[in-house]
């Protein structure tokens, strides 16, 4: 164990712990735009700079390992001014369109601008113009909102292992791009969208839907494969407008294209809205009331059971339905109908 002092408070941490993580354990908050506990240390945004006794200049806490007897200071007027200037510099080359940005209210850069009260900007000059529209159907890429924190590049490499994007060009022309600046063509997992601290990367399916106001969050489980990822449904009234996942879930907040973006079916117009029955054999399916449907089911089940016995009836339960529904379904067939003719699609 290593013992160090941060803001006058002592803490012991295990070897390899960074100053940033040690401070976090003491619940000392530091601003950051590029730190991500699920990724390797990076030190890109320079906002987590701290003063360490014996080191002449501030260093980034997220890339500095804690050492024995280190004395760290995370707050001073000097650090405050440096950090404020960094955010100001970022904003000097950032479109001021929070009004219509999908990420407004959920944007780290906007939050920092608010915190540092950055209404005016001392740095005027040329701004980057990235008006190229990426035609991929999932990820809206507004590169003029990109702050080059590298989170998307890192998650695509370190977690997804796809390496669909990287830094291109140098200096003022630096940009994040797929190879040869083509349209994004990848697994569209959207980890990059989830991890982006600004409005540079958003979901195309989110556009024009609810942002913050009246958005309700519900913790539930994805309805696709057996991974059982934890998802948060963002809903406005009775409409699902976005799906996200928390990083403290067993899936660490990672999702796939289906789980993250494939939710349109829930609110599709062609959802069945009333029971349908065939009033004549060979006739069309017609809308009916629940009473009518239930009566028909009960009379047909009873007559088949009476005439041919319970084993002339069978049920196919569903690997898509809940445990409770499946429990009730098999109980219905066994206890009420009186047959073990009950199965589901585990074999398909």
């Amino acid at each position: 164990m290593i013992t160090l002092t941060i803001n006058g408070r002592e803490i012991s941490v295990s070897e390899g712990t960074t100053v940033f993580e040690a401070a976090k354990e003491l619940e000392i908050e530091m601003p950051t735009l590029c730190y991500e506990p699920r990724l390797k240390p990076y030190g890109g945004c320079r906002l987590c700079i701290v003063e360490i006794e014996g080191i002449p200049k501030p260093v980034t806490a997220c890339t500095t390992p804690a050492t024995e007897n280190m004395v760290v200071n995370t707050n001073s007027d000097y650090l405050y001014r440096l950090r404020r200037t960094i955010v100001e510099l970022l904003l000097s080359d950032h479109p001021n369109d929070c009004m219509i940005c999908t990420r407004a209210g959920d944007c780290t850069l906007q939050e920092l601008a608010y915190f540092y009260k950055l209404r005016e900007n001392r740095f005027k000059g040329e701004t980057r113009k990235h008006d190229r529209i990426d035609e991929n159907p999932f990820v809206k890429r507004e590169m003029d909102k990109c702050i080059l924190c590298g989170l998307c590049v890192r998650v695509c490499d370190e977690v997804q292992g796809v390496n669909a994007i990287d830094f291109v060009n140098r200096g003022f022309n630096s940009n994040i791009s797929p190879p040869y600046e083509k349209d994004l063509d990848c697994e569209f997992c959207g980890q990059c969208v989830a991890i982006c601290p600004t409005g540079a990367l958003t979901g195309k399916v989110w556009a024009g839907e609810g942002r913050q106001k009246n958005v309700k969050h519900t913790e539930t489980v994805c309805g696709y494969c057996g991974c059982g990822c934890n998802v948060t449904l963002h809903t406005v009234r009775d409409r699902v407008v976005r799906i996200s996942s928390k990083r403290d879930s067993h899936n660490q907040g990672w999702l796939c294209a289906k789980g993250r973006f494939g939710y349109e079916f829930i609110n599709k117009n062609d959802r069945l809205k009333t029971p349908l029955i065939r009033r004549k054999k060979g006739g069309e399916l017609e809308p009916a009331t629940w009473e009518e449907a239930f009566d028909l089911i009960v009379s047909r089940f009873n007559s088949i059971k009476k005439k041919y016995g319970p084993d002339a009836l069978a049920g196919l339960a569903s690997a898509r339905c809940t445990n409770e529904e499946n429990y009730a379904f098999q109980k219905f067939f066994r206890a009420v109908i009186g047959t073990n003719n009950i199965d589901h699609c585990a074999r398909y």
């Binding site: 699902v240 079916f265 049920g315 379904f329």
Partner: protein
């Protein structure tokens, strides 16, 4: 899964067989990549060059349908080179002597002949797997959807036992379940032979427990498996079918046969979100609620029971499945709420008001727990943050990350000798290609959900057939050419996708697309034990479409 998903990251060797993990279980795929980054050795056995191969140390491209032989040959090498875990074998298994004999003929040379995998790779796979401290096996339908699917799974269990890779962390025999709640559906007894918790319907003691709880006499015979129901419909033995949230017309092998079967029913109920291909044939279609519209639990592939919560109201008059079943149950003259619950202090509704008989999800969950001890320790309250993994027998139990730590339910585990049987339909002069089927990343099952997503549909809009470059050259086929694919059961037209993802003589078609349904071609030959159909191997011929 015997083990947990999280443990994969700490495995020393992974054997992924018959699982296109990154496309079908993307988040489990991430853990596998993490394991490789942490230094684990990844062995993949798959007839296709799946995306995960990029991360593999060794890729064994076996011919479809030769898995058991491949696994047997790997075990032959392990025993020959003395790499087995003798301590584990002695303490926790039985039947090794006979088993050893059964593997005698499964030499690497024999393996190469049958599976097409070079013998040096078989030997290397054996060495990597057996010399790892913690090694895990991961498989899906590539192993099971065969006429000898049960054998394939048993062979994998043998491999885990032989190397002592069961009952410890980051190892195990791990089927990755394909659907959000297929694990739970099995757990809840939606199978013709077992009650909830895999308790046999033929066991008198078990049956009387359920008879007492449910207050009805229960059937004693094992029922029909889904794959057997189709024939029973055609034979006229099965007259009425109630399908809840499935689209078997598109997902069942030999679709023409299934279609004929469903049309011969006297009465068909389909309960779903949409008017699916199956619902179109129904006499009654009931509008159900999506997962976003109801309360309950799903159980994922690692036995983790998690809460599903209602976020929105259902459209129109759509109703959640549990309420629908309760209504029907009630109208058939049975009280759907178990009265025993009140004895345990749980709320049971007043008998006077019929509407209150509708079972709540929580009541149904607790009732299942009364009858299946492995989840008795779970309550909705305890599941609220991240869920619990069964077995969780008491309220103080924190769930089980991996199974069989100290013992197997049967005492000592038995080695089972597995023969190297061929698939029911192998290529011949008339049908020279092996067709294998599966899913792709951007679509899901019969597409009822994913094909309604504009974005997913935009990147994966149409069916295709993967064919090897050399075969395409021989047949004079160019990229995207329309091909007619014919099996003994059906015919479809589908566009060619030429490359090296499949080996020569093998083709692959995803089964999501109704406009060229792969299951028109597939074989419905069944595994004699578990009644799974052989969707992964059949013989087809390929011609340029007229």
């Amino acid at each position: 899964m015997t083990n947990s998903v999280e443990e994969i990251a700490d495995t020393d060797a992974l054997f992924v067989i018959g699982s296109n993990t990154t496309e079908n279980h993307p988040i489990i795929g991430l853990r596998m990549k993490e394991a490789v980054r942490n230094g684990a050795k990844l062995i993949i056995a798959d007839p296709r060059k799946i995306p995960l191969v990029k991360f593999a140390h060794l890729w064994l491209q076996q011919k479809p349908g030769t898995d058991a032989t491949l696994i047997n040959c790997i075990m032959h090498v392990i025993l020959k080179e003395g790499l087995e875990d003798t301590k584990f074998i002695k303490e926790r298994t039985e039947g090794i002597t006979a088993f050893r004999k059964s593997l005698k003929s499964f030499t690497p040379a024999h393996g190469e002949k049958v599976t097409g995998v070079p013998k040096k790779d078989i030997i290397e796979a054996a060495r990597i797997f057996a010399s790892a401290d913690k090694a895990g096996i991961y498989y899906t339908m590539g192993i099971t959807q065969h006429s000898m699917g049960t054998n394939n799974v048993l062979a994998l269990a043998d491999l885990a036992m032989l190397t002592g890779n069961v009952g410890k962390e980051s190892s195990g025999v791990n089927p990755l379940r394909g659907q959000n709640n297929v694990q739970g559906c099995c757990d809840m007894g939606c199978s013709p032979n077992v009650f909830p918790g895999y308790q046999k319907v033929t066991d008198e003691k078990v049956r009387s427990k359920f008879e007492e709880a449910w207050g009805r006499e229960l059937p004693t015979e094992i029922g029909l498996a889904a794959t057997e129901m189709t024939d029973a419909m055609i034979d006229g033995k099965l007259k009425g079918l109630y399908v809840m949230g499935e689209n078997p017309i598109l997902s069942e092998p030999n679709m023409n046969h299934a279609l004929k079967a469903f049309k011969s029913l006297d009465f068909l109920i389909v309960q779903d979100l949409f008017l699916t291909e199956t619902a179109e044939l129904a006499d009654v279609v009931l509008p159900a609620a999506s997962f976003a519209e109801k309360e309950g639990t799903f159980t994922n592939t690692e036995r983790r029971v998690q809460r599903v919560r209602k976020a929105i109201k259902s459209p129109g008059e759509a109703m959640d499945d549990l309420s629908i079943i309760s209504h029907i149950t009630l109208r058939m003259g049975y009280n759907p709420v178990l009265e025993n619950l009140s004895a345990l202090g749980y709320l049971v509704p007043d008998k006077m008001e019929a509407d209150k008989y509708i079972t709540t999800p929580e009541q149904a969950f607790l009732e299942a727990g009364l009858l299946w001890p492995e989840i008795r320790g779970m309550t909705y309250q305890r599941l609220r943050n991240g869920g619990l993994q069964w077995p969780c027998p008491s309220h103080s139990h924190s769930g089980t990350r991996f199974l069989f730590q100290d013992s197997f339910p049967v005492g000592k585990a038995k080695f089972v000798a597995i023969p190297g049987l061929p698939s029911k339909e192998v290529p011949d002069d008339d049908y020279p290609f092996i067709l294998t089927t599966g899913r792709i990343l951007f679509q899901y099952h019969t597409g009822t959900m994913t094909r309604r997503s504009k974005a997913l549909e935009a990147v994966a809009p149409e069916p295709f057939i993967e064919i090897n470059k050399s075969d395409a050259e021989k047949l004079g086929i160019v990229e995207s050419a329309l091909l007619t694919v014919t099996s003994r059961r059906g015919q479809i037209d589908v566009k060619a996708k030429i490359g090296d993802r499949v080996g020569p003589g093998v083709v692959f078609i995803p089964f999501h697309y109704k406009e060229a349904a792969a299951n028109l071609l597939t074989n419905d030959a069944l595994d004699p034990v578990c009644k799974i159909a052989e969707a992964k191997v059949c013989a087809v011929k390929i011609e340029k479409a007229a």
